[in-house]
Symmetry: C2
Subunit: 358 residues, 2 copies
Amino acid sequence: MWPNRDFLDLVGVELPIIQAPMAGAGGSAMAIAACEAGGLGSLPCAMLNIDKVRAEVGVIRQRTEHPINLNFFCHTPAAPDSSREAAWRAHLAEYYEEFGLDPAATAPAVDRAPFDGAMCEIVEDLKPEVVSFHFGLPGQNLLDRVKAAGSLVMSSATTVEEARWLEDRGCDVIIAQGVEAGGHRGMFLTENIATQAGTMALTPQIADAVKTPVIAAGGIADGRGIAAAFALGAAGAQVGTAYLFTPEARISDLHRAALRTAGDDQTALTNLFSGRPARGLLNRIMREIGPMSEMTPAFPTAGAALAPLKAEAEAKGRAEFSSLWSGQAAGLGRDLGAGDLTRQLALDAQRLLKALAP
Amino acid sequence: MWPNRDFLDLVGVELPIIQAPMAGAGGSAMAIAACEAGGLGSLPCAMLNIDKVRAEVGVIRQRTEHPINLNFFCHTPAAPDSSREAAWRAHLAEYYEEFGLDPAATAPAVDRAPFDGAMCEIVEDLKPEVVSFHFGLPGQNLLDRVKAAGSLVMSSATTVEEARWLEDRGCDVIIAQGVEAGGHRGMFLTENIATQAGTMALTPQIADAVKTPVIAAGGIADGRGIAAAFALGAAGAQVGTAYLFTPEARISDLHRAALRTAGDDQTALTNLFSGRPARGLLNRIMREIGPMSEMTPAFPTAGAALAPLKAEAEAKGRAEFSSLWSGQAAGLGRDLGAGDLTRQLALDAQRLLKALAP
């Protein structure tokens, strides 16, 4: 039924579709729906504490017997840098003034913790069929423990060099993350966004470079993209932005409204919200400061200075300082539940693959 | 034999492959080989004078009876700006010093003339089956004359908005130019490279927005990319960088050598060589100044200041100041003649489309 079964047979799922883990936007409901439809559902854990991960996985295990993917970030946390933080706040001073905010104001900011020993214990305990990482892989000891727990390991490569690096360390599935993709670039051996390749160019070059099954990601939001992924040598596709249109997505109404009217040319890579490049819909702060700044504090702390502005603007119904993560194919989004979306993506891809045959 | 015949039937060619017009690198030999193999060969005319265009088309018409595409730029030439030119030269002063060159030195620079009445007369006289434009379309009067001469009109769109604009003006074939593509971005309604979409995201969104046949371009260098183009809703593919590996390509040995070792992550969009963003292999000037500069003189005059440096460095066997145009899929390039390449691309795509069927 599918032209390449490497991923399907390895992971034990019916459909070659990974519901992308989207920290903050995805939770157990989305993962359950994707799993039950036959895809690989993912629970993004980067912004969850240990208790929350345990609770969410508990819900998932109650509702589906299909394989599940737990996703973690594995960055090295930056040391606090108060002078850099101060300079960044000073750069934002006019906005604080506009909103009548104290320049030293704080607000709850997004926290993203890296995978560590405590999280690894949860993996060892809950034994998810798949564990995926963003920004490379954790240290060898942690990685060994994850593999010993029986979990398959996936990670994203944004270059051929990163794909080879992942394969050399025993990664079981490599996600070729083209530059179209929404959210954080998984890049970990380079910091140069100018040289990041699109999915069309990246996927076949990674497929040629490694023996590990490759999943294409970036700009894939319908059956056409999934069929194209197979043509390019991938064993499946990871889909993110399309799932942000589902009721299971835990995003603000402002984010949802912005996605519904998003065109092909309304996203950019930006480091303003976290300190690392991530693709989101253009908004006021990105337009006025420019989407990439050399002044932002290091990942993941950059968002703290924007948090009071974000809260104040959102209260006024304005997403001017909010991260509106989106890939470049938001224009292909549809109003479907996460389960129906998963089934429809697979059906459309199947029909298309059949229709393409000479 | 092909899943979508819109382009084939419209243009009257056998294979859904356009050999991309690459000003400076392509000539009659490459076009003839592509045409004779069954693809649509293209003669880039932007850097040719009227006599040369006439001579090249004469050679092509002698050697092939298949349809041919003449490509022109249709930018508005910038007025000379001596202060901007002087500031740019000052910015480059240390390089002039390093090579012992007079900062006021001149050398033959690349000239790119826009399509005008005189060129249009040639089109009316030679009646190419296809005329393609880069940077939008020429004025209505010139466009009407081209269409009255019986030529089909193609142009590149880098956004959905540009595609709609081209369709509204009667463009017969729209090339969806993803950000992976080598050489100049065809962008004409936007100057923002940060929001340019990859081929995977751009092609289906343009295909949804217009009724005009769409050709995918950008990151396509083998049969996988061509098959993927059809999956994404295109009626064919335009291939550029892969043809730079053919003996018919009129490129320097330095450029050829750089292409042979190019990876997926070794290109960037740069405006240093012409004043407009174009994708090329990273070299010294791009790394040291940064690939995009706000100081470059307007297109197409920016290259003049680099010309003496380019000549001096190339004489020493160094491509440090040369434009090394390349898309992001140079890593897929093969040593084949332009005719064999065209045939092989089609054969590989056909086999793959068959193998993909469930």
